[in-house]
């Protein structure tokens, strides 16, 4: 299994722990990732607000580069990149004029895109290409006793439900159970984290973050598992603002890839676990005994 890997800006910046955990986990499973040569910003939500055609053109360069690389499938771990790349593909299929615009723009830099690059998320690849059975065989330290709130956020399953249900996604739930973790019922699993509003309109954004953390805590979760760098950043880095407004809700938010790495027995240091403001510590030894309530906080 070989894929073109599209990190996006976040996985090289604030979300670098996602990349740090994704790469060793995929390698451990025998999945080969080759970083897309000279990839550019996907455009994210910000560019769509400025110019839709240009946003599609930006995404198209990456799709074209993936095609050129020969590894047709493009792996996009960031939910925003994943959405924008998929959205662009949909636009090209639905609106030939948009595709023609992008073709002209790509032509100006000597690239072409035939329209055939599948865009995949690591969750999709793990469940459908690698398979839960193969993953189970690699579990060296089951996450027994760890209660996880599975948080998918918005853009992974909306508006396109490419590989999971858009109202009640379950792929991460099943993956976490395979690792031995206990998945808590978390009805807010696809509720918005606020996106960039945490920084631009904190009175609105911080409240959304608080609701997500509070609900997960109320349901007994030891941590939230996320699939998106912006969700992770919002839920982790704004804890002092949340505390100032609503009181402390110090719940760690980890990437699902970090939990995979822990279950595979990979060392903490290789999984970017030192990157979080609210640290997550998992001690498998303590799991054998009944968990003391204090360990949750």
């Amino acid at each position: 299994m070989k894929y073109s890997y599209f990190p996006g800006c976040s996985l090289k910046g604030l979300g670098r722990a996602y990349e740090e955990s994704l790469l060793p986990v995929m390698k451990h499973l025998g999945v080969e990732l080759q970083e897309l040569e000279d990839w550019n910003c996907c455009g994210a939500t910000a560019y769509m607000a400025v110019d839709e055609a240009k946003a599609c053109v930006l995404a198209a360069r990456n799709l074209a580069l993936a095609e050129k690389s020969g590894n047709q499938q493009l792996l996009a771990p960031c939910a925003a990149c994943y959405l924008v790349l998929n959205k662009t593909k949909h636009y090209f299929e639905d609106y030939p004029a948009m595709k023609a615009t992008a073709d002209r723009a790509l032509n100006a830099i000597g690239l072409r895109y035939s329209g055939n690059t599948p865009v995949r998320h690591p969750l999709d690849v793990l469940l459908n290409d690698v398979g839960l059975e193969a993953i189970k065989q690699k579990v060296a330290q089951p996450l027994q006793g760890l209660k996880v709130a599975p948080y998918y956020g918005c853009q992974l399953v909306r508006p396109y439900s490419t590989f999971d249900d858009q109202y009640n996604p379950t792929t991460m739930d099943r993956l976490l159970e395979t690792l031995g973790a206990t998945v808590v019922r978390y009805p807010l699993k696809t509720k918005c984290c606020g996106g960039s509003l945490t920084g631009t309109v904190p009175e609105a954004g911080i409240r959304l973050v608080y609701i997500l953390l509070h609900e997960a805590k109320k349901r007994g979760a030891d941590c939230l598992a996320t699939v998106c760098p912006l969700c992770q950043f919002n839920l982790d880095a704004y804890h002092s603002q949340v505390t100032a407004q609503y009181g402390p809700v110090l719940l760690p938010t980890v990437y699902f890839t970090q939990l995979l790495g822990l279950a595979f027995g990979l060392p903490d240091k290789e999984l970017g676990l030192n990157r979080a403001a609210i640290p997550f510590k998992w001690r498998p030894a303590a799991a054998a005994a009944p968990r003391p309530a204090a360990a949750v906080a």
Partner: protein
């Protein structure tokens, strides 16, 4: 002083043809069949902060109230979570209509001044055009400097957290073929005849 404003819209406030124009944009066609059920406002996580709810924005757009929607805070508070688009019984792509309205507000210069969200969109697009990639911390710093330098001070705690966890990098990320992005974007403009 209390500011008294009438709360209903008159026919004279309409910019006739605006609704049609929006509904002719790819992705916005379905607005025509809005039944004003309010599902979008109900599922929107930000509607409680909006000056007009998403349902109202749909009605105002279709009804040609151009100035009201383009000046509204609503379009900028939309975080693009697509909950409304997925739940809409008439399959209206509400999020995409919000994007269309944001683009029109920027082009018409009608967004609230120093309001951070459109400033973020502009700074973001300029950084992409110049470097091909986003350096997140630089973007955040530019945003605060251009909108509310004092608020940046309030986030000192986060800065320390980010530094301690090795996430505060300010080295500019860029692509190797650095002329590519500008050439592509210019070619897009040329095609549109803008």
């Amino acid at each position: 002083m209390m500011e008294i404003q009438r709360t209903i819209k008159y026919d004279a406030d309409r910019v006739k043809g605006f609704g049609r124009e929006v509904m002719s944009v790819p992705g916005c066609e379905q607005l025509e069949s809005c039944i004003q059920c309010g599902t979008c406002s109900g599922v929107c996580p930000l509607s409680i902060y909006m000056d007009y709810t998403p349902r109202q924005v749909m009605a105002l757009t279709r009804g040609d109230f151009k100035n009201e929607v383009l000046k509204s805070h609503t379009i900028w508070l939309c975080a693009s979570c697509y909950a409304c688009s997925v739940e809409c019984p008439r399959e209206i792509r509400i999020t995409d209509i919000m994007y269309e309205l944001k683009q029109r507000a920027i082009r018409a210069g009608l967004y609230p001044k120093r309001f951070p969200i459109p400033v973020l969109a502009r700074e973001f697009s300029e950084m992409v055009k110049k470097h091909g990639r986003i350096t997140e911390m630089l973007l955040v710093m530019k945003l605060f400097l251009k909108t509310n330098p004092l608020a940046a001070m309030g986030n000192w705690r986060m800065g320390i957290d980010l530094m301690k966890t090795g996430r505060l990098s300010l080295a500019t990320e860029k692509i190797k073929q650095h002329g590519d992005i500008a050439r592509m974007l210019d070619a897009t403009d040329a095609k549109k005849g803008a």
